[in-house]
Symmetry: C2
Subunit: 318 residues, 2 copies
């Protein structure tokens, strides 16, 4: 039904399809046929990115493609799963050779980096949006759910928070002098796949921070039927957020998403292992609080925060 779908697929996507003996049939039939490892569970996730909603309309096609796959790999990371295959549904206004070529280049630059094979897709005419579906595997029983956090567990986050949001904020303000690292984080986030996989059999719960720490931690807590006490001063904000006022700093660092760092919980008996993971992957991993039995989040802070902001946090301070 999609106009020129077959031409688009064969010209830009099929030629980059690599040989893999587990792929019985890839792009080009009514469905792809693959052989999944029999000793593992399959992990499946899907995410849609809509132009003007999930990325600014000016975003380059390379970056749109990169991000659309990155956010799905991030979901695999949060489960401790290893991504294997991906399908791609593109809806675009009109065929634009240059756009498609750039998009395909962005897509394969990250797919190849993570050895993920594109096995199928669909190209439709319509307002620009991208839906990626990813399939991975995880050894049976080693999947990391959101629901396993226990009172007393320590809560960690990887990397720095607020980079992508700060980049978007600067972009929206029309600022020309934006830290390239922020734009990189906004447009080409790097999923914490190594960390997620290394947390198997260690983390009690894990989620990736796509919507912002407050929102994603809340999802983890409600899945775990638990609460948390968070030390705001411990949260590893992106360093340029020190230059802005407290409300904006915390809004960009805690209420905005798109960093794709991991937030996870750990029984303290594994805390030494976190040191090893930090060293092995040269990644900051910061303790920000503790899981509590009582639902809700207690935010401890010495910052001078406005009532408005505190309300937005659902602030509680003992």
């Amino acid at each position: 039904m999609a106009l020129s779908e077959f031409d688009i697929i064969s010209q830009y996507f099929k030629k980059k399809y690599k040989h893999n003996t587990s792929i019985i049939a890839g792009i080009g039939d009514d469905a792809a046929i693959v052989e999944m490892p029999s000793d593992k569970f399959m992990a499946v996730s899907t995410d849609t990115l809509v132009s003007g909603v999930h990325f600014p309309k000016i975003t380059k096609p390379f970056d749109i493609a990169y991000k659309s796959l990155a956010v799905n790999i991030s979901d695999m990371a949060a489960m401790g799963a290893e991504p294997l295959y991906v399908t791609l549904a593109i809806t675009l206004e009109h065929n634009d050779d240059k756009w498609l070529e750039d998009f395909a280049n962005g897509f394969f630059s990250i797919a190849n980096k993570y050895s993920i094979e594109l096995i199928g897709g669909d190209v439709s005419r319509g307002p620009l949006s991208i839906t990626v579906q990813i399939f991975g595997v995880v050894p049976k029983g080693q999947q990391i759910m959101r629901s396993g956090a226990m009172p007393g567990d320590t809560i960690y986050v990887t990397g720095k928070l607020g980079m992508a949001a700060y980049g978007l904020h600067m972009l929206n303000e029309g600022n020309d002098n934006i830290d390239k690292l922020c734009l990189q984080r906004l447009n080409r986030p790097e999923p914490r796949l190594d960390i997620g996989i290394s947390l198997r059999n260690k983390a009690t719960a894990c989620i990736d921070i796509s919507d912002g720490l407050k929102s994603d931690l809340s999802h983890l807590l409600s899945a775990s039927m638990a609460g948390a006490e968070i030390e705001i001063e411990q949260i590893p904000f992106y360093n340029k957020l020190n230059d802005v006022d407290s409300d904006l700093r915390l809004s960009l660092g805690m209420l905005s998403g798109d960093d794709y760092e991991l937030c996870f919980t750990l029984n303290n008996k594994f805390s030494v292992e976190i040191d090893n993971i930090r060293k092995e992957f040269n990644c900051e991993i910061t303790r920000i609080g503790t899981i509590k039995e009582t639902p809700g989040i207690v935010w401890n802070s010495k910052y001078d925060l406005s009532d408005e902001f505190l309300n937005s946090l659902g602030y509680l301070h003992f």
Copy 2:
């Protein structure tokens, strides 16, 4: 990132999630975790339906949902695969409780009919479109590819062609007196899953007719590196197409899609088995031509066709 995504999922979709011991984790985590049967291949397909492109803007949410899953089940049918799981990515302009409730009802009415479990999804803000991803299984080696047709094989189609296109044509003409069966075919196509599965180890190639017979048969032929000779008078057109002129009849019946019938090829040693399948499923299955070694399609016809139409077929007559 999607506004209210979690509310929408839990309110309309998660509650209808049924227990299945192969689903380790369904909706509500970063990814679903399922156990796939180890003795089968996995079949995966994805299709996007965009408002105003794949369905008229006036289409009811129940029908949009029904069709979005039906067309994906049809892809499984064309592979001889049995669908098991589905994920659903919805992009919609704004939250509308009634719309979502009707959509969910449509989705589960067909999902339950085919015992397919919804295991994940995404809800985004943006112009209305639906992307469904379906996963099925097929006994190893029994998948029916587009590529297996051999010279001498007979070409069959199931059911009647042109019903959906006739319905859409009448709708576009503003005709109030449209055969309900046509609208049903257009809005709630019934995938030929039983037939597809029963063709395992029999059909040499198969495709579902989503884009129209000419287009889909061409895909099958090019995958099989073969040609075909088709008897236009044998094609089972929807009976009301007899009331319109030849060009329109053939245009609606051969160049328009959305019927989701199957077109398949068969070695003649299995022709008696087709009688059994016809009887078992009470389904018309019609011989329309023969696979040839020479690429291209030879259309044999006694119809009085315009030069314009013949050109659109790439007509060749010996």
